[in-house]
């Protein structure tokens, strides 16, 4: 079950990722396209994901947000099952350095409802407001067009492509490099 609210809008809420959210986050690691974003070539079991939450998501250098669809009376504090539904997550790695890298994922059954767009936009805004980073980067795999378009619509600029960088779905795929500078976001 997610923790308290970090940021919220009318469309979507970002809550803290708790260790008991491992079962939900685990589904990211069974998505062959998505997990590449965290250099995970294999799926993980729940115990491995709990360890990843502890070591990566909870690291002070990283920022993790659970993207949630809150009910009308959902509390700011710890919600109950009926108050909110986790639909995805956003993870920014190295928010303590010049250029954090961002990964986002929405569970298949919640796609097409705008949660990915709204969650990602709110996370980007939150990161620029919270951390003194100069820019953000992201690395979608070639063929994952929906993800690329989502970043492009937020203003991320295509800066290059590393050829055949990852092995996904039976073949080597290019990995795209995108960047968004703070001044571009604020403009």
């Amino acid at each position: 079950m997610p923790g308290p609210i970090v940021e919220t809008t009318e469309d979507v809420t970002l809550r803290t990722v708790e260790r008991e959210d491992a079962a939900f986050i685990q589904r990211f690691y069974t998505d062959p396209w998505a997990r590449v974003g965290l250099h995970a070539t294999s799926h993980k079991n729940e115990a491995e994901v709990e360890e990843t939450i502890e070591e990566e998501f909870e690291d002070d250098g990283n920022a993790a947000y659970l993207v949630c669809a809150d009910g009308e009376d959902a509390p700011y504090d710890h919600p109950d099952d009926e108050d909110t539904t986790p639909v995805g997550f956003v993870l920014a790695v190295h928010v303590d350095r010049d250029r954090p890298n961002i990964v986002h994922w929405v569970a298949p059954e919640y796609r097409g409802e705008g949660y990915a767009e709204a969650g990602l936009e709110l996370a980007v805004e939150t990161i620029f407001r919270t951390y003194d980073v100069h820019s953000l980067s992201t690395n979608p795999v070639d063929g994952d067009e929906a993800t690329r378009q989502r970043y492009e619509s937020l203003g991320f600029v295509h800066e290059g492509a590393n050829r055949e960088m990852e092995f996904v779905e039976g073949e080597y795929r290019d990995v795209h490099q995108y960047g968004l500078l703070r001044r571009e976001w604020e403009a």
């Binding site: 250099h39 010049d98 250029r99 100069h134 820019s135 980067s137 600029v157 800066e159 290059g160 492509a161 590393n162 050829r163 055949e164 960088m165 990852e166 092995f167 080597y172 490099q177 960047g179 500078l181």
Partner: protein, 183 residues
């Protein structure tokens, strides 16, 4: 004193890093002409240099070797080459030479020996390397070896008082093989 010869070029050798090389590595890692272009922004004392050598022992995913000149006597270490993340589809390489040895083609030669080792010994798809712009020396080495420019990340790192672009280069196995035939 560097250890055994691991690979040999025409003029340089790549030798194993021994505990007593901490002083040499420390000198390179603290020299601003080496460290700033590499993105190293913290001082390193001898015990940290020693610890980093020990941390690499038994590490099968990263390779670190000393670039040496040979004149029949003791080898003279002049720099270092690394391969990082050998479990990745395209591991990353990097290298540095002490400033007084720049401009003689030693960097290109040492890196070529490392690239040949990487493709011959490991079933990797390709290699990659990054440099801060402007770093003409470093980019020149990559272009000499047939690396393709794959992207320029704008304002991606803070170094030497300002945000600078990071340029990415890549070399795929068949490009390396073609270059070998040309040789």
């Amino acid at each position: 004193m560097p250890g055994a010869v691991f690979r040999r070029g025409d003029r340089v050798t790549l030798r194993t890093v021994e505990h007593e090389d901490a002083e040499f590595l420390q000198r390179g890692h603290n020299d601003p002409d080496v460290a700033v272009p590499l993105g190293v922004n913290m001082p390193e004392n001898e015990s940290e240099a020693q610890a980093s050598i020990e941390d690499h022992e038994g590490d099968n995913l990263n390779v670190s070797l000393l670039v040496c000149l040979e004149d029949g006597g003791d080898p003279t270490p002049i720099g270092q080459v690394y391969l990082m993340d050998l479990h990745h589809t395209r591991p990353e390489l990097s290298y540095w030479l002490l400033p007084e040895y720049h401009g003689n083609g030693y960097g290109t030669e040492a890196t070529e020996v490392l690239v040949d080792y990487a493709f011959n010994a490991h079933e990797i798809r390709g290699l990659q390397a990054q440099a801060f712009a402007p770093n003409d020396g470093s980019v020149g080495v990559l272009e000499n070896l047939g690396f393709e420019h794959e992207g320029t990340l704008r304002d991606a790192r803070f170094r030497d008082g300002e945000y600078v672009d990071v340029v990415w280069y890549g070399l795929l196995r068949e490009e390396w093989e073609d270059a070998e035939v040309d040789d």
